[in-house]
Structures are given as structure tokens and as C-alpha cells.
Symmetry: C2
Subunit: 349 residues, 2 copies
Amino acid sequence: MRATVIHGERDVRLEEVPEPRLLAATDAIVRVVAACVCGSDLWPYRGVTPTHEPRRIGHEFVGVVEQLGDEVSTLSVGDFVIAPFYFCDNTCANCRNGVSTSCLHGGWWGADDRNGDFVDGAQGEKVRVPLADGTLVATPGMPDDSLVPSLLTLADVMGTGHHAAVSAGVTAGSTVAVVGDGAVGLCAVLASKRLGASRIVAMSRHADRQAIAREFGATDIVEERGDEGVERIKELFDGIGPDFVLECVGTKESMDQAIRSARPGGMVGYVGVPNGGPELPVRRLFNTNVGVNGGVASVRGYVEELLPEVLSGAINPGRVFDLQLPLSDVAEAYAAMDERRATKVLLRP
Amino acid sequence: MRATVIHGERDVRLEEVPEPRLLAATDAIVRVVAACVCGSDLWPYRGVTPTHEPRRIGHEFVGVVEQLGDEVSTLSVGDFVIAPFYFCDNTCANCRNGVSTSCLHGGWWGADDRNGDFVDGAQGEKVRVPLADGTLVATPGMPDDSLVPSLLTLADVMGTGHHAAVSAGVTAGSTVAVVGDGAVGLCAVLASKRLGASRIVAMSRHADRQAIAREFGATDIVEERGDEGVERIKELFDGIGPDFVLECVGTKESMDQAIRSARPGGMVGYVGVPNGGPELPVRRLFNTNVGVNGGVASVRGYVEELLPEVLSGAINPGRVFDLQLPLSDVAEAYAAMDERRATKVLLRP
């Protein structure tokens, strides 16, 4: 089969790789219907995190079950399934605590599982899925093709935006600012709206992303950044700032923006993968009682809550995809996101 | 009148200072019945934070109202009152949000108020209290003298321990570890017990403090620190750690201990004044979904909740005082705490 391999800075290639096969009785083989490129894939693509040797890449996919190990009990061949950006048993102590990204038996696409067997990356034609009962969620019946983009967001960006909002503690009637207008930031706006936030500020300088943010529920747009951005946001909320700020980027600047924008006693929900730092300024947090909560999003646990709203069309997070390409154009998909010609690219094998 | 002045490292003196008088219509003059020395007073005492010129010190007191400005409406001369470790109007947007330590019109004992007028420190015979209606809470009638230590803890340590537990989100049935066996740490144990925690680990190496921790509700004691301490605590909770860890010290070591001890998805509630740092390790927090929440404790807002339990004897946080001295022995009070001969010293003018 064909799958995407990253060789180094700005060098991703679709290559012939071994067909996956069932290795454990809890495995499934899934034929990928759609995958995509994540903002975090751009760190190795840009060389910010080095690629020491060629490796498989991609961690978001939906697909159809082709084969099942003998012990898989909740799925059938032919099921359309959503895979989170990691695999997990969904039964261990950490999974039960809602932190399936810390599953005691889980792992990551494109790396070895706990048995030492390689697990495929998602930007390919097929994937061997360990712990299939825990990892995969089947839709009721085969969804209409038009729903595929929104279903795919449940693998990562919609669940991650939701995690930012849940980690911050967004509640009905609360006020929110979102730092970051990428796919996750836009989904964090949508998640805040779902949770009943009464006012949602999207920080964005791009007209097309502002439009989606408005569609997703943003009531205000702030284009300024840094000191000016903090001042503008505080102004919008009695001079003290919103209850919650959702950090969806992962740079030092974006985290500072988030921490400084929250009102005293407010909470920052953060999901941007910290890019080599920074450390958090504890003294500022202490003085203002601003808390920080979040991390690598346990999206598996959110699928059951969000899926019905995607299927009914109540939410349409798939709007964050502004480019669809065949998998054979994966190099162009990375380039388009790297050069900011696209917010998020969907790939069809 | 006499009040405590810090001149420099290990140099506190009781000195004759001007008698306070009403300066604003919202002021009260309170005669101090009891004050005490705080762990955070030891930073300047030890020279860790420098004292550039002699200044008044002390921020915890209870007393009796002697004079009231014309606009004070909720208090009467002769009332026994509890003062938080700061003054606040208790009506501004931040106070309404429960963050009275960020009061838009408040300030600190031993420093200037917003009118530029000096406000007395608490380790003295009398204190001018700005914003008296917001700051002070009167007890119903004159409390028995035996209740004075517990009432005094509502000025800081009991409210601060409670803030750690509330900031972490301690709920009925949850599991807690407390880092720090000073007065605040012990009160954090008591606060966790009040809030219904099912298991509470106190980290302590001192038999006398362990005994109070047990009395306050600790179910387990861990004497180890560092890697060993983390391991011991994780062992006690299925190998993954407790839901909540309360950091009540303020050093890099104690914060690391707290962050590393919490289970994935857990929360650190912290109230130890960060002593010149450290910054928080965001990557570890991100990977484990451990959140950090807390800061300078808004104890004013907790007095109404905790006071009835102190008056009824349901809780007895005054047990943290293991030495009582006359105010004239204030230098000995600091020395006893500095040399760890006392956990917390109560001073009677």
C-alpha cells in the first residue's frame, strides 16, 4: 500500500510500504477514507523538530473496518469508524478518569505499540489499529460522504477545541477569548458556543478565518496582538478580561497572550502543543489567580458527546477544511498549510 | 502605640509609632486582640527578599473596633472583627468574581492605600482599616477567648489552605495529597476533610505536625521527598497518583513534588508564595494534563463559610499555633519560627 513518509525538512513523500496485517487479537485493519494534515505535523515539516530518520506520519483518520482480530467485540467488518489521534484501551484507570491520552496501554500512530510492533501512520491507505474496541467508534450506518470532513474533525481538532473549553471550565453564560485562528482555535470557538458561552472573542487577522469564527459563534473579533491585544480584550470585559481564555497555538507568545488576557481568577485552557517551551510565569499566575489547565486532548472520550451533533448537522466543524486533495498530493497538502494557503487540508486515499 | 518594624535580615523590633486615626469616611480603627507571624514573613526575615528600609510588618489580625468613619454601615464600635490579610471593598468586579485579593480598590497592610495614606501592619497594637465594610467581618457577639486562635486563622492560614483545596477542585470522595506541613499545609488537610475528600496524604517528617495532620483528617503520612516521595504517593493511588495535590510551600522543589505527584488529568492547587520563581514546566503539564490553579488566597470570601464552624467548634484550625507570646517578644516569635522551634506563633499585644 501507499503511505506518507517524512524524510526531513519540507520533504514528505507518498511511498510504497508493507500492507498492515492483524498482529494481536485486539487489532483491527482499517481502510482510510479520509486523513488530514495537523498543525503539529508542521513542526517536523518545518524542521523545528528534527527528523533523524525517515518515518511514517499522520494521526487523524476515519475509515472502514476491513479485518478484525478475534477478541474485538464491539465492531464489525464494514463499519465506518472514527479513530482518535492515538490508540487506547478506554478501560484503564487513566481512561476511566477521562485522560485516555495517558492510557496505560495506549500509544501513537506511526510508532511502536506496547508489544513493540509498528503501528501505521494515518496519512496512508490502511492502518493497523491496536486496542480496536477501545480506540474506534463506529457510526450508526454508513454516513453520507458530505459528513466525512466533520466526522474527521472528531479525530482531533474538534475534540481538541472542545478539550480547551472543557479544561478551562467554560459554562453557560461565561465569557471566552480564543487565541489562535487555526482549525483548533476555530473549533474552540464552536465548542464554547455549544457549552453556552455568552460572549466569545476570536483573535484573528484573516478575513476568511474570521468569517468561520463568526459562523461558529464568535461575537467579537480582535485583530491586535501582544500588549495591544491584551488591552483590547480587557476593554471588552469591564477592563478586567474574560472568564476563560483558550490557547490553541503552543508558542510562548500565544501562551503569554492567553495568561495576560484572562481576568483575575480566570482560567486558561490550553491545547497548543508547547513548541520547545516556554515555561509558565508562576508569579504572574499566582498574583492574579489565573489557572492553567489542559494538555494533549483526550478526544476519544468526547466522540460519543459530539458525534450525534455532527450526524444531525447541529454542528459543522468540517468547515475548517478549506482544501481537499488526493493522498497522492500529500506534499502539496503540507506546502499549502506551511505557506498558509490553507487552514487545514483533507486527504482522500 | 507600639508596632513591629523590620529593619533587615533577622532584625525585627517592637517600636513606638504614631497612633492611627481615621483618614477616610470608610475607615475603621481596630485594636488588635491577636496577630501572628506568617511563613511568608520569614522571606524578608531571612533576607531572601531584601529589606531596603525599615518598614512595618504583619498581615494577620483579629481585634475590636474602636472607631468608625461616618460611611461605615455594617459595623459597630465594640465589634470583634476578623481582618483578611489584605483590605478590599468586597463589591468591585474582581471581588464579585471571588478574587478579592485583586480588588480594584484594595491593598496590603503595612503599605499605602489607594489614597496614598499609610496603612498599619498587623503586628502592632492598632490598625487603621480602609474599606472597613468590605474588609472586616464581625462575629456575632464577643467570642470566648479560647476561640481567638481559630478565629485568627481565618485571616490567612485556614482560608489559604481552603483556597488551595477549592482551587484544585477538591470534591466529596476525591483523593488528595498535601505538600507542606506548615500551618497552611495543615489547614489544607483540614479543608480537604471538610470538603469530603476520601483519602488525604500529608507529606511531613515531623512527628508533632504529623499528629496535627492526623487530627485534621489525614489518612496517610508520607515522609519521603523528591523522586522517592513521588513514588510513594503514586503507589498509594493505583500507581497513578491522587486526583489533587495541594502545594503549600512555594519553592521549586515543592511545586515539582506537587506536579509530579498528581495523577494524569489531576489538578495542583497552589498557595505557597512563589519564592523568586520557579517557572512551571509546561511540557510536563501538557503531556499529563495536570492543571495548576491557585494563587494569593481570597480569604475574605471564605470567612462567612468557615466562621460558623469555628464558632461551633466543628473545626479547630487554631491548633496550628504551638506558641503564644506577648507582642513585646515579637523578635523571639520570628526566631522560633525561623529555627523551626514553632510551626506558627500567636502574638498578644
